[in-house]
């Protein structure tokens, strides 16, 4: 049996970042994922914000890793072409409690090493986001908060990891673990995988995997966050991320632009017993609409493009659980919540150092391939349909197949030729934006389906 140096369980944004990081060394790394695509569970449905970490609890691991991850991912996005827009954010206070909480939040930001936050009056708030509803009493600016394409981030990590020699095993669910003196055997739905070291980045399943290694450190609760996505016509209403002010009476919802040109409203927050339940609920959507109507009434006049529910892997701890059990050659990454997208690269870096200390031999790999380039999906860059030179070289980039999102046949073709081709239509959507727009397939659904069937050899 082949014995890998490291097996990483879970190919979400954190697992992919870890696999990519470890593969920068002379290690044989396997990346094991239960689902049929990378980033197909918690990573695919978050609020897509690149956080400064201004509001983390000072002193926590999260408060250290988020700012570091912000810097690392900002640079990496530049190298790979992941869409990022430095929009900045403004927290808006709607009542006296919230207004009174702002100075404390600014102090917290300073304690976290973030010094750019400023308290501002209502005139400034309305000057920044004129579409806000009446009643804003003041706010705080967080100029560093940015928006990012979460799907391309996970894919870029995974593509880089593959280019560095990582073996990706999709559709492979770890069902049991057998620890031995030299190596650990993962009993999976597709046979055994042996590795000297195991990293648990299993997200919603992290507590179960942790249990397989004899630990009982935390319980993962699936915390559902429902989101409503508005049409791109709404984008001018939200030039910045509009954040709620958290108080003891709870946390409100945010309104955020997306790099694809939409506006997002959400999330709700509700603990669910079922870790696979990503349905939207009447109560959730109704509460979002009610809150949204107060924050930005004109947004509610715009068309809703889509709504969805994401699951966050919450635990009873207030912080990330990052720990290496050197005796069992086992590392756990638990309780990585929505900030995990921002912190993914610093979590990987931090884990690498812990593993180094614990005895994993790290010898830098010579001749690392350069970072991949991901397809241009963000609205802030010239996309293929706008690129005359590209179209003249390859007419397929001039054939728009998804009219709402302006996705060309060339881009759909490229998605299937990529190192990790999509295995279902959702995978194609995350790679190209096809059918994600306002018509939701009225015009192009059948044609995109045909292209998918043709490329994958499925269908009739």
């Amino acid at each position: 049996m082949r014995i890998h140096d490291v097996a990483v369980i879970g190919a979400g944004v954190v697992g992919c970042a870890v696999a990519r990081e470890l593969a920068a060394y002379e290690l044989d790394v396997a990346l094991v994922e239960a689902r049929d695509d990378v980033g197909d569970a918690t990573s695919k449905a978050n609020t897509a914000i690149l956080h400064t970490g201004f509001d983390a609890a000072p002193g926590t691991l999260e408060s250290r890793l988020v700012p570091r991850g912000y810097a690392l991912l900002s640079r990496y996005a530049g190298e790979t072409g992941i869409a990022v827009e430095p929009t900045g954010a403004v927290l808006v206070a709607w009542d006296d409690d919230q207004l009174a909480a702002l100075p404390g939040l600014r102090d917290k930001a300073v304690a976290n090493g973030y010094h750019a936050a400023e308290l501002v009056g209502p005139d400034f708030v309305y000057g920044t986001v004129p579409a806000l509803g009446p009643g804003a009493l003041g706010g705080m600016t967080v100029p560093g908060e940015s928006i990012i394409d979460p799907w391309s981030t996970t894919l870029a990590f995974a593509y880089d990891a593959l280019a560095r020699g990582v073996g990706l095993r999709l559709g492979t669910r770890v069902e049991a673990v057998e620890s031995g003196p030299e190596f650990t055997v993962l009993r999976t739905s597709r046979g055994d995988i042996a590795a000297r070291w195991v990293v648990n980045a299993a997200g919603l399943g992290a507590d179960v995997i942790d249990g397989h290694f004899g630990h009982r450190r935390f319980t993962v609760t699936a915390r559902r966050g429902e989101l409503i996505v508005f049409d791109t016509a709404a984008r001018p209403l939200a030039p910045k991320i509009v954040l709620p002010v958290p108080t003891s009476r709870g946390k409100g919802v945010l309104i955020s632009p997306t790099v694809f040109g939409n506006v997002m409203l959400g999330p709700t927050s509700e603990d669910l017993p079922d870790r696979t339940d990503t349905s939207t609920s009447e109560a959730g959507i109704a509460s979002l609409l009610e809150k949204g109507r107060r924050i930005m009434p004109s947004l509610l006049e715009e068309e809703i493009t889509t709504s969805y529910a994401g699951l966050r892997a919450a635990t009873e701890h207030g912080d990330y659980v990052v720990d290496v059990d050197a005796g069992k050659r086992y590392a756990c990454l638990g309780g990585i919540r929505s900030t995990g997208l921002t912190a993914s690269m610093s979590i990987a870096e931090h884990l690498r150092d812990l593993l180094d200390t614990a005895g994993l031999p790290l010898k830098p790999r010579a001749g690392l391939p350069p970072p991949v380039r991901v397809p241009v999906l963000g609205e802030a860059s010239a996309r293929p349909y706008q690129n005359d030179e590209l179209i003249r070289r390859d007419a397929e980039y001039g054939r728009i197949v998804c009219f709402c999102e302006k996705v060309t046949r060339g881009e759909v073709r490229d998605a299937f030729a990529a190192p990790i081709p999509p295995r279902d239509l959702n995978g194609l959507r995350r790679r190209t934006r096809a059918t994600l727009g306002r018509c939701q397939g009225f015009f192009c659904g059948a044609e995109v389906g045909r292209l998918f069937d043709e490329a994958t050899g499925t269908g009739d």
């Binding site: 996505v229 016509a233 068309e303 001039g398 728009i400 239509l425 045909r450």
Partner: protein
Amino acid sequence: METMTPAVAVVGAGPAGLTAAAELARLVDGEVLVLERERVPGGIPRHSDHTGYGLRDLRRVMTGPGYARLLHRRAERAGARILTEATVTRVSDGRELEVTTPSGLVRVEPHALVLATGARERPRPARLITGDRGAGIYTTGHLQNLVHLHHGRPGKRAVIVGAELVSWSAVLTLREAGCRTVLMTTSQPVPESYAAFHLPGRALLRVPVATGTRLVSVEGDAGRVSAVVVEQVGTGRRRRVECDTVVLTGDWIPDHELARGTGLDLDPRSRGPVVDTALRTSRPGVFAAGNLIHPVDTADIAALDGRHVAAAVQRWLGDERMGEVAFDIEVDAPLRWVAPSVVRRGDPPPARGRLLLWTDTLVRSPVVRVHQAGRPLARRRLPWPASPGRVFRVPWSLLARARPDAGPVRLSLAR
């Protein structure tokens, strides 16, 4: 980048755009260029494989695909140039177009611009239907595209949301694809579609119609729809209906993104561009026709808009002096919108001498009342119902006594 300077650019090769182009090619000097983003011209009728097309514009009855081919042929024979796979991605603040084509980007600088981009049905998220995501949820457009153009197959048991004309069109498409419609739901107390079609439809196709209901949520299993929850609106009573296919019909919204992006005045109720009786928009030299301005009427009415707008475009190219606005037309609930909604001095009556309106509730024997600044102008009982889910047509003659500069004219319904 290539630049084209046609006399007229028409965006959209559906019934309105193709008919406008065929007329204009005869009427004007210079090129008439039609820009169509699909590979095949014809618009929605291409995949609406049932009869009933061409009645009012061509005085014959044919299938959707046959109608689409005929309109295409007529426009080409008349001398219009039709560019397919040509997607207009932006309209400048004048009337210049940025177009993506397989041979590169093209800039089109026409003397006159006709927007005929049509309408689409609202998809599931916009209708706030919650629950699981999963395969098997379509709009009629998506379904008919799948079945008629791609020969794909939906499931075996369908629930249809809506009971208007397009909903029955979906029933026929499903039947052809071997999928049984187990229920049609409509929030209306009575089905919306034409009685002539509805009664035999109900009898022949044996589709139960649940009136006064709404579809609340979708349940999924292994990535596919497995059931829906339907609520009786008055009582709140809910029931679960097993199905593997859901078709969302009607609830139209104009495909107005170009019109909106370039800053034309939009009607907040229909969301289409505001037009006058000559189908001019708020910007000189920019016109709009078809279901973009009245979402939606039948294809032949859209086509006749095309004929109507062609005459107006010809006058514009001949340096017409456009009249001042005489009055606006407004509507009271349950009427939702009216098109056209602006009347200028010296202008012709609207296409076919009819105003097109939309109602949110059924009025079987409607009396239309016309007021201007509180002054009653006309009151007439019409022999056809005002029925949700289809356009309600009001004769132009009811506005004969309206005076220029005497305030907006209001249309309302009395039972």
